[in-house]
């Protein structure tokens, strides 16, 4: 069994907020991802069983949403905003800088397993562009110097 009893309990608790328990599918995926970093095929099977769905039905949900990862990711996912206001203010230059500094391309994970670099659509803080999230943390008004400070080079 890929899911712990605590995870099952947390999923059942969310399911109680809805008329149909399958409505808690997104919450369930997030509960599991919070603990494991990503959602494996085993997890899909187990969650589907708890929610009374077929695994394929749940996978259809899991693969639809930007913030559910169906492949392993680093400890922290970098979501840099690539939408219009951040783009005007240099988001692509920041991406290039991150790729160089972390020695990865978009979609890849650093060798030490620390970061995965992904784009994200408008983060809703356009007045403080460019914006990005690193894990749960949101960073605003990023410039090259600030970017270097967010990702200190290990010596």
């Amino acid at each position: 069994m890929a899911l712990s009893e605590a995870e099952r309990e947390a999923i059942r608790e969310e399911a109680a907020h809805y008329r149909d328990k399958s409505a808690a599918s997104i919450e369930a995926l997030k509960i599991v991802q919070q603990r494991h970093g990503w959602v494996s095929d085993e997890h899909i099977k187990d969650i589907a069983e708890v929610l009374g769905m077929s695994p394929d039905q749940l996978d259809g949900v899991a693969t639809f949403y930007n913030l559910i990862y169906r492949r392993p990711v680093g400890k922290k996912v970098i979501h840099y905003c690539n939408s219009v206001s951040c783009w005007i203010l240099g988001a692509e230059e920041l991406r290039e800088q991150m790729e160089k500094r972390l020695r990865i391309k978009l979609g890849e994970t650093t060798q030490d397993g620390e970061y995965t670099l992904l784009p994200i659509v408008c983060l809703g803080a356009c007045h403080r562009a460019p914006v990005m999230m690193v894990g749960d943390e949101t960073y605003f008004e990023i410039d090259p110097a600030r970017l270097d400070a967010i990702f200190p080079v290990k010596t």
Binding site: H17, S25, I26, K30, Y65, N66, L67, S85
Partner: protein, 424 residues
């Protein structure tokens, strides 16, 4: 100038506490509403003419009036807050939820009472972690004081409110796609009719309202129709949270009378363009609105006046195109967003948006042909209103069709290889 929606915002960015909210008149609206009949509350909101702040601008009171009421109505009804703010350029709902979470919670309770909803959900985009934290606290505090739960203030009215954090897709902002998402499915829009007011979440009558819309409700009930109408400069009532992003000196958001001009917003509040940049055009209400030009700066930004220059007020958060940013690349960025965020359900959107992106990409990379511009023009019709399942693709065509109209030379310059210095 009164600023009901943002009066409790603090300079240090911390949220208004419940005590501060109560001192500013908070929950007085709820007390008053519970002493009124639900239909009276509906009528009050209808009388103000409040129009939905999510972008479509439909009358909130009229929307509510389609919900079945009375003894024969279904007992289970839902009120849902659309807090899935993902329109590029929009950031106003984030500020409202982070700055004064209690205001939204009170707005939810009053509005739920008005339609006699039994359960309410806040559908919040997953990336808004701070808003999620603050709303959870505000909901908890409301339960503790019996503003939520059973028999609210001894009125006999019961309401539960849950926070749902989404997992990210722009289409969740479309109200029927939002319902599918809340039911745990892929966020694909539903056919209408039936409309959600009659058959929405789990087939029950459902109202979906935008965050800013609902934040207006406590003040309307507390201070009345005449007061509310007096806040605006035009026929559209109330204040509006306007925002500006792009190359201005002080990008930000400001609560101003509805109908404030873009000139006042950009020049006074946002401090004007940055040194060395001038304004070429702007999207008045997020990515899915048509460009307006500097010659439109003195038009009042309300729902009706903006349509007279073939655009839409949308979310009221302006994105500026400056003279050093290429209009074609600007539009390419927008179309990449829409192509990625298409849910894939209907063919014009699923296939047409990536095709549009390819055409624009060819242009900026020097592979464009003159007929590509004509093809882009045809796309704005193929993907326009009436040809798609929902408003995503037509929205995507708005900045494109207006860019082709106003900045055609920029497109042609790529073909004539006279490319101006482009960004990105």
């Amino acid at each position: 100038m009164e600023k009901p929606l943002t009066k409790n915002f603090k300079a240090d960015g911390t949220p208004a506490t419940l005590e501060e909210y109560l001192q500013s008149g908070g929950y007085e609206g709820l007390r008053k509403a519970l002493a009124m009949a639900p239909l009276e509350v509906q009528q009050t909101v209808k009388d103000t003419g409040l129009r939905g702040r999510g972008g479509a601008g439909f009358s909130t009171g009229v929307k509510w009036s389609f919900v079945p009421m009375g003894d024969d109505a279904p007992r289970t009804k839902y009120l849902i807050v659309n807090g899935d703010e993902m329109e590029p350029g929009a950031f106003k709902d984030r500020l409202l939820m982070e700055g004064d979470p209690h205001q939204l919670v009170e707005g939810v309770i009053i509005s739920a009472y008005a339609i006699q909803a039994s359960t309410a959900y806040i559908f919040l985009r997953g990336e808004y972690r701070l808003a999620a934290e603050r709303l959870s606290q505000a909901i908890g505090a409301a339960y503790e004081r019996n503003y939520l739960g059973d028999d609210i203030f001894g009125s006999g009215y019961d309401l539960d409110l849950y926070l749902h954090t989404s997992a990210g897709r722009y289409i969740c902002g479309e109200e029927t796609a939002l319902l599918n998402s809340l039911e745990g499915r892929r966020a694909i829009p539903r056919a209408k009719p039936p409309y959600p007011q009659v058959s929405g979440l789990f087939g029950k009558p459902t109202i979906v309202n935008n965050v800013e819309t609902l934040c207006n409700v406590p003040h309307i009930v507390h201070y009345g129709v005449d007061w509310y109408k007096g806040l605006s400069k035009t026929a559209d009532a109330g204040t509006k949270l306007y925002g500006v992003s792009g190359r201005v000196r002080r990008p930000g958001a400001w609560e101003l009378p509805m109908g404030t001009t873009a000139r006042e917003i950009i020049e006074e509040h946002a401090g004007g363009m940055q040194e060395g940049y001038s304004l070429r055009g702007f999207l008045p209400g997020g990515a899915s609105t048509d460009f307006m030009l500097p010659e439109h700066l003195d038009i009042p930004l309300d729902f009706d006046a903006v349509t007279e220059v073939d655009s839409r007020l949308g979310t009221g958060t302006l994105i500026l195109l400056d003279d050093k940013t290429c209009a074609v690349r600007f539009v390419l960025n927008l179309e990449q967003f829409f192509a990625q965020e298409s849910c894939g359900w209907c063919t014009p959107c699923r296939d047409g948006l990536p095709w549009t992106v390819d055409l624009l990409q060819d242009l900026v990379e020097g592979r464009g042909r003159l007929e590509d511009i004509e093809q882009l023009e045809r796309m704005t019709g193929f993907l326009g209103p009436g040809n798609t399942f929902c408003a995503l693709a037509p929205g995507a065509m708005e900045p494109l069709q207006s860019a082709l109209k106003y900045f055609r030379e920029d497109f042609e310059n790529y073909i004539a290889k006279k490319v101006r210095v482009a960004h990105g």
